[in-house]
Symmetry: C3
């Protein structure tokens, strides 16, 4: 019986990336949907649960992707709302790659240092930043989540939405008014994650290299300039300025393994719902 992945994408065209990775994770058939809303999702998936017997529903799974994380969350919730007794399938959310990316980075950090009790600062309130903060908190870090100071942009990245999302996730984000205020937040930090958008330098080398307590740094930005000045995208927990640093390509390479492991997990039962926590559990095993 062919393993079927129903790919629900909230963008107009379904992601080729998600499709190819699914094929590489042994999915036999893709049913690809673009422009999927939470309203339309139940209609798309509901009948599928009746094509195979309840004992065979581990052969069907739902993938939710796209560039809009809240839209993806709403689609995943709508899919779960269509479950009916034993008529349910495993499903995973990875809009914007945020779950697999954050889970991979934090798992890599957790593999080299005990995180419980460690003061951590995540700079950047995008989907990856918020998820990273959530995972660090679950590992026992004392997490500070900070918006990027407006002076770093000149744009509106540090939006109310990022703050609201962080608060919904149980975080208490702070808004440093200046780079000096951001620097003060790093006082005593052991772990620092730069989760800014492409093209924005979050911290200068001067700032992070002279901080005496920082031990671990990670940067999610794969394009030039890096979010952490002086960190190379390929740095895979190498030592720079006396600290262990992790670059975006080193995260991204391992993320592919996590992504595929998650897909395979979906087909082990019809009851798996993989959001950030479930993905992280798998990342801890794979990384």
């Amino acid at each position: 019986m062919k393993k079927v992945l129903i790919q629900l994408d909230t963008d107009p065209q379904p992601s080729a990336f998600d499709s190819i990775v699914a094929l590489d994770a042994d999915v036999d058939a893709l049913l690809r949907y673009g422009g999927v809303s939470a309203e339309a999702a139940p209609e798309i998936v509901r009948d599928a649960f009746f094509t195979r017997g309840p004992g065979e529903l581990a052969t069907i799974a739902v993938w939710v992707g796209g560039s809009n994380v809240p839209a993806g969350e709403a689609v995943l919730a709508a899919v779960q709302g269509a479950f009916f007794g034993p008529f349910r399938v495993s499903a995973m959310l990875d809009s914007n790659g945020a779950n697999t990316t954050a889970a991979t980075a934090v798992a890599k950090l957790a593999a080299v240092r005990e995180l419980a009790g460690a003061p951590a600062v995540v700079v950047g309130l995008g989907a990856v930043g918020v998820r990273s903060a959530t995972l660090l908190a679950r590992e026992g870090c004392e997490v500070t989540v900070a918006a990027i100071p407006a002076s770093r942009f000149g744009d509106d990245y540090r939006t109310p939405r990022g703050l609201a999302v962080a608060r919904e996730m149980g975080l208490d984000p702070v808004e440093p008014a200046s780079e000096e205020e951001l620097e003060e937040l790093l006082d005593g930090a052991a772990v620092v994650l730069a989760a800014g958008p492409a093209g924005v330098q979050v911290l200068s080398r001067e700032v992070w290299s002279t901080n005496p307590t920082i031990e671990l740094l990670a940067d999610y930005n794969a394009t030039e300039p890096p979010g952490l000045e002086g960190v190379e995208a390929g740095d895979d927990l190498v030592e720079r300025e006396g600290k262990l640093v992790l670059g975006a390509i080193a995260i991204g390479g391992r993320k592919m393994k996590v992504h595929k492991a998650c897909l395979r997990r979906l087909f082990e039962s019809n009851e798996e719902i993989l959001e950030v926590d479930g993905v992280y559990e798998i990342a801890r095993q794979v990384v």
Copy 2:
């Protein structure tokens, strides 16, 4: 050479149900199209007939589905209009699952009782009801097709469209003004099919159980409450109140086998056109 099914769906998103069943019936590749109109269909299929030699066109077939039966019928007709000499492929219509569902139910009834000459009443003028009535008539039943009394709804289900469609199919539908009038229609009936919409009880247990002539009852409604009070969806021609009753899940399970048998038939030649009659012939063999 891969068996290719061109799936034309009149709904915006192509049905995952139809796709998965096709894969389970050994289709190798699906070319899925949503939002297909009769105007667009010939353009989609025409070139496909020239990809493989005329002697190899049994390896390509067209499936027409979606929730709108008249739209599906128009698409199937448009596909046939694009045939050009030997450049043609087999095609099937199963919008709303109506053909496979009605064919399966009637075939199951025909397997346990000679239908020729039997008075039959179909209550409900949806696609499944109308097709069931057509098939019962072909088996020689004296068929009465009745709308569901408005008192059962409070809505407009008993629409002019249902009446018009039934008339186009050569049936002479009646509109009972009350439940008493509907009950009178059952006088002398041997076979009764409830083909109402989800959530509408078509007949009370009191009505069908006290009717002295009814021998066979079938209910297409899989959700609570059943269309026939007291019938369980899983009833597979079991005896209740001295009558043989057939529930929606018992129909649905067997429908899956009919559906797959039809798909396999499409790939036996390039000349099969499966509408209600062709599907019924297959159902009689499979059920």
Copy 3:
């Protein structure tokens, strides 16, 4: 690792023809996109380059098709614009089948006669005509490209767009005002290609059969009436009226082999870009 073809179609629905031929050329998985614009194309393909290592990108390719050749050219350019260092894949343009069709016909002519120095006339300024003229010129023909005289239509086929496209391709198209002027253009021609639209007779038998210098004729029109009166679509370089003639079905059959050979070529490296020249090189080997 599955061979994946990302099919970008500029028409609303992706071509079933292109999909089936790809499957027949051993593509394992199709990612089909309809309604693709040059603006949207980079977004669709970019991430795909990061799913597999740079050393494995020969397993992914991009196909650009649809009925609009300039739109297809823009999409192909946009795809190439998304390449990033080693992160690139092979790609091919065959909007309207124009590249494979013109390349096949010219390759068949080149196989039976030395074309260098031969006077050639292409009648018709559609995509296939313009590409044929380009290829004949590259083979060393003295090419005249002519619009079809308006008297043959009564419509606006001989549009400014056709003239403009021909000029952009470095050709110098002429516009015969009458059939007599067209006939004069054939004086001294050795090779004549009729590249008119379906249903338009480009030259009467009288005209081409009495011309003393014409040796080779080809007609791209597969439907009645033929573009060259008296030529049968199946004529595969057979002699008629003392000339070798090539009909549309004889071209089309061989075109399928060229089309599949091109697809296979795409998966031999991640650096092939097949437009008319690249397709022609393959056609010379296959025909």
